[in-house]
């Protein structure tokens, strides 16, 4: 069995383009990361310079020798958003890159052109037959739905000839909406959002009325409060047939997360030690959630036996 690869997922938060470029170019120097996903998934309003900017960054990242994937929007509803996806599929083909499809529209556009694609985590791949269908359409790799218990992976993937990627670390993207909750929290409307999400590079904390941490607002998306982590399950995931572990980036500590995953996969450290390193001064129970791995409440941390 070849060693599991590490992917840096598409940045889900809203940042200015300059910051995104610097962030990815710095991470690209890190040996442990094999694959980089690049592109806006959550809100088309964030993309200011559009596809040409994304292509320039992809070209610079390609020089690092990493596998580059161009991600696409999860909830396109307008012609402009569909065109944005078409342009990315075209650009990817010209550069010899793959796209990540996060909506059936992207699957439709890619498969019509005979392009290979990666089926993203928002396509609802809960059944073996669905995976089979998408594989026939050109899916080379699938990213499983976040809430699917890890033990179901072998059943869902079955004998389909696809690579399997698992969302292994980061704030869980739990929803997509037409409404922008960041704008709402700041008393603005989505039409006139003034890119207010750029002010909070790791989102806005949402708490319960009795002051417990609850979730993270990321523009039109709600995410888990704690980052999800399966750093202590890399070996189990390999046994379930997972080829690639996705780390979803955030502004602080992503390089360290990649290093720790790399160290655990290479057997240079124990998972317990690595998790505690990432948790810092907090306990692992407080710092992370992993309930979905076990088919339980996503917000919980469940101690492995």
């Amino acid at each position: 069995m070849t060693a599991m690869k590490i992917a840096v997922g598409p940045l889900l938060f809203g940042w200015p383009e300059q910051k995104i470029s610097e962030f990815y170019l710095e991470l690209a120097e890190q040996a442990e990361a094999d694959i980089f996903y690049l592109g806006e998934v959550v809100c088309s309003k964030r993309s200011i310079s559009g596809v040409p900017w994304q292509v320039r960054l992809a070209e610079r990242l390609q020089q690092s020798g990493k596998e580059i994937v161009l991600s696409t929007l999860a909830m396109p509803t307008t012609e402009a958003e569909l065109q944005y996806i078409r342009d990315i599929v075209t650009a990817a083909a010209e550069m010899g890159l793959t796209v990540e499809a996060n909506d059936l529209s992207a699957v439709a556009i890619a498969s019509e052109r005979g392009a290979v694609f990666i089926a993203g985590p928002h396509l609802n791949l809960y059944s073996n037959g669905t995976v089979k269908h998408l594989q026939k359409q050109g899916a080379a790799r699938i990213v499983l739905p976040l809430e699917l218990p890890a033990s179901e992976i072998p059943t869902v993937v079955g004998s389909n000839d696809v690579q399997v990627e698992y969302f292994a670390h980061g704030h869980l993207p739990l929803t997509f909406s037409a409404r922008c909750y960041a704008a709402r929290a700041h008393g603005l409307s989505k039409q006139d959002c003034r890119h207010v999400c750029f002010m909070n590079p790791d989102g806005i904390e949402m708490d319960t009325l009795d002051a417990h941490e609850f979730a993270t607002i990321n523009g039109t998306q709600v995410m888990s409060y704690q980052p999800f982590s399966t750093l202590n399950h890399t070996a189990d995931l390999a046994n379930y047939g997972v080829d690639v572990l996705r780390i979803s980036p955030q502004s602080q500590g992503t390089a360290e997360v990649i290093r720790q995953f790399g160290a655990v996969i290479a057997g240079k450290t124990t998972a317990g030690q690595a998790l505690q390193e990432l948790a810092g001064t907090r306990s692992v129970t407080e710092a992370f959630c992993n309930g979905y791995y076990y088919g339980k409440q996503g917000r919980l941390w469940i101690q492995s036996e």
Binding site: T77, P145, T175, D207, Y292
Partner: protein
């Protein structure tokens, strides 16, 4: 092909049990939708839905009175045991349902192969919100209709209608999902049970009401999601309509506890060429169904008669507000200001 604009949309009404089905049929024409009593549909609530015998009786009653029946099988099959889902598809075909509402691609394929005469509708749970996705489902699975997520603007709905020959059905009344259906994991994040995998959102078994100092605390699996003053009306505690704190402000961070009500948009909806107007609420009582369906029947008939002179009658609004959860309404994503 008939121009879509020539179509008077049908009212697609919820039936959580036989009495509600009869109430919906008696209150006026068109179509009812229902699900079987198991995890195969997105309203898998206790005491709700239809056994095979009840579905048979319901379909017979509806057909005798000129109503069609759609059957929802719109959760993701259990990867280890898909039998309840495939059996539900077959049962809908055997009982003579007029259409089956599906979201999973493998089940769509199964239905096309095993029940080819049964119309296939794409469930809102499939999260298809643009014509590229709908045309893909049409090409690959032969869907004839799709229910759009409640996150599109009227402009986007118009565009979908004009660029796809798939019939379009939209929600016009009842509970308002503010997140794209099928892509919302909030419920399983808190409770472990989700619409996609379990057919439930904010399930009743996880809800606790606790009184403290005259104040009502609402907890979902132990997480405080709302607090009510003694004189405040408390609707069913759906997670996204709870009160939370963000940026130092407490309130309805995600959505106010309003119901969807698109009465005012009806002429625009007609002009767009929408085929089906869906009323949410299989979990509601037969009295609710009767009241809401009668109101919508009057509104749709008035609009069909003369869309240019259509105005929303006060009694329609009063009737919908009186029966709605939260007692107030919104046209949701159909109007820009909401977003």
């Amino acid at each position: 092909m008939t121009a879509k604009q020539d179509i008077k949309p049908e009212l697609v009404r919820p039936a959580g049990n036989l009495p509600a089905l009869r109430a919906a049929v008696d209150a006026g024409g068109d179509t009812v939708y229902l699900g079987f009593r198991n995890a195969t549909n997105a309203r898998n609530f206790e005491g709700l839905n239809f056994s095979r015998e009840e579905a048979e009786e319901g379909i017979r009653y509806a057909h005798q009175h000129g109503s069609r029946v759609f059957v929802a099988v719109n959760t993701s099959p259990d990867p280890r045991d898909t039998a309840p889902w495939t059996e539900s598809v077959d049962m809908a075909g055997e009982l003579g349902a007029d259409a089956i509402i599906l979201s999973d691609m493998a089940l769509l394929e199964y239905a096309r192969e095993k029940q080819p005469k049964l119309r296939r509708h794409l469930s809102v749970q499939a999260s298809a919100g643009n014509y590229e996705a709908l045309n893909y489902y049409q090409r690959e699975f032969g869907i004839q209709r799709a229910v759009l997520p409640r996150v599109l603007t009227m402009d986007a709905i118009r565009e979908v209608c004009s660029k796809s020959t798939v019939e379009i059905e939209i929600f016009v009344s009842g509970g308002l999902c503010v997140m794209t259906e099928g892509r919302c994991w909030l419920s399983s994040y808190i409770t472990g049970d989700s619409p996609n995998m379990n057919g439930v959102c904010s399930p009743a078994h996880a809800v606790r009401f606790e009184e403290e100092d005259g104040r009502l605390d609402v907890k979902l699996d132990g997480v405080l999601i709302n607090q009510f003053d003694p004189d405040e009306a408390a609707a069913y505690p759906t997670l996204c309509k709870g009160r939370f704190e963000a940026c130092g402000k407490q309130g309805h961070v995600m959505e106010d506890p309003f119901s969807l009500n698109a009465l005012e948009m009806l002429p625009e909806i007609f002009a767009a060429g929408v085929h089906g107007l869906k009323i949410e609420g299989r979990q509601r009582s037969k009295h609710y169904v009767r009241e809401v369906v009668s109101t919508w029947r009057s509104a749709v008939d008035a609009c069909a008669l003369n869309p240019n002179e259509y105005t929303v009658q006060n009694e329609w609004m009063d009737s919908l507000n009186a029966t709605s959860e939260g007692g107030a309404h919104t046209a949701g994503a159909y109007v820009d200001e909401w977003r």
